[in-house]
Symmetry: C2
Subunit: 204 residues, 2 copies
């Protein structure tokens, strides 16, 4: 069983790369599917789960203490429960025994024992803002500055969750097999390149 994990900076095109890679390799694809599984298991709305998991902030103990009242306490407890549930869902993916691409959610750390091929996708802030603007829905009219703020906030969240799960830094190239910068290179070229890299890694 071959597992490819894709971690990525927000707006870097990592999800698109993952989807196209899975399609071309004929692998299963896991991304939103994980959230849907969580929704089915928990009875919560998928959007609520995604939103909750996207807003995790690490807090020191004294801060936790002060925040552990009312809404904050239940939010934190929701987040921790959902993170644990998500962890279980991801750890169960290999039971299916299928080759797959998993985007985000620290699958590289959680499935380490299966020796996945781990890719990190990054890009310049400028190119990421451009990509966000291009794919924005009608409800997402943000200025470049607002996009940058959103990108930084989501990246920070991803780094926080990784910190919770693993000692290694999010985005540190030594934590992945390969780090790809999508700023000056088209995704059309990157996808077949990564396909070849994955095939070579798995000795195909």
């Amino acid at each position: 069983m071959r597992i490819i994990t894709i971690s990525r900076e927000y707006g870097s095109g990592g999800r698109e790369i993952g989807q196209r890679l899975a399609e071309r390799l004929g692998f299963e694809y896991f991304d939103w599917e994980i959230i849907v599984a969580l929704a089915t298991k928990s009875g919560l709305e998928a959007d609520f789960i995604e939103e909750t998991l996207s807003n995790i902030k690490l807090q020191t103990f004294p801060m936790d203490y002060h925040c552990s009242v009312g809404r904050n306490a239940s939010l934190q407890s929701n987040q921790i429960n959902l993170l644990l549930e998500q962890k279980k869902v991801i750890e169960n993916i290999p039971i299916l025994g299928k080759d797959c691409v998993i985007v985000g959610r620290n699958a590289d750390v959680l499935l380490k024992k299966y020796k996945p091929f781990n890719i990190f996708v990054c890009g310049s802030m400028e190119s990421r803002i451009k990509r966000c603007e291009a794919r924005a829905t009608k409800d997402e009219i943000l200025t470049a500055k607002e996009w940058e703020k959103k990108i930084r906030s989501i990246d920070k969240n991803r780094a926080h969750v990784r910190e919770l799960l693993s000692g290694s830094d999010w985005g540190n190239p030594k934590a992945y097999h390969l780090t790809i910068n999508t700023s000056n290179w088209s995704i059309d070229s990157i996808v077949p390149s990564l396909m070849e890299c994955a095939n070579r890694y798995f000795n195909i």
Copy 2:
């Protein structure tokens, strides 16, 4: 004309990757050749040039001022002259009009206008010490701790020279197209993978 540049952490296997990539692609290879060209131009010994260029330390102005006496002054002036000469040698490589792989020496920054394909090669400290031990000559009997010290010192030097030449950080994945971690992946698999990446980048 296609130019591939390989920047690398000491002991990561970057030089071997560069050599094999050039061989398989039928590209010219530049590494020690640059030092030889510098030696011919300057009349200095190649080993002396390599040694001098490997020991560049950034100093702030007050420190420069205090150091600018005696041996330190001439060493620094040697270093600056050699760096400038090396810069010229690298900037002249494209005049040959040949596809090439250039290892180290900030060719990615110096030849930016030729849109080279820029690779950074890294690895865990453990795997780099192992590689250094395996390729050490009889005169290089170092303990693991001594290797680590040497590795950190050479990497620091490389980071310093890059800082002199460019605003971007040495080893920052956003400064390269692709960053490859050689720790858990054989160079035999990495070389054909990178070949495909380069071919795709150059639209072959």
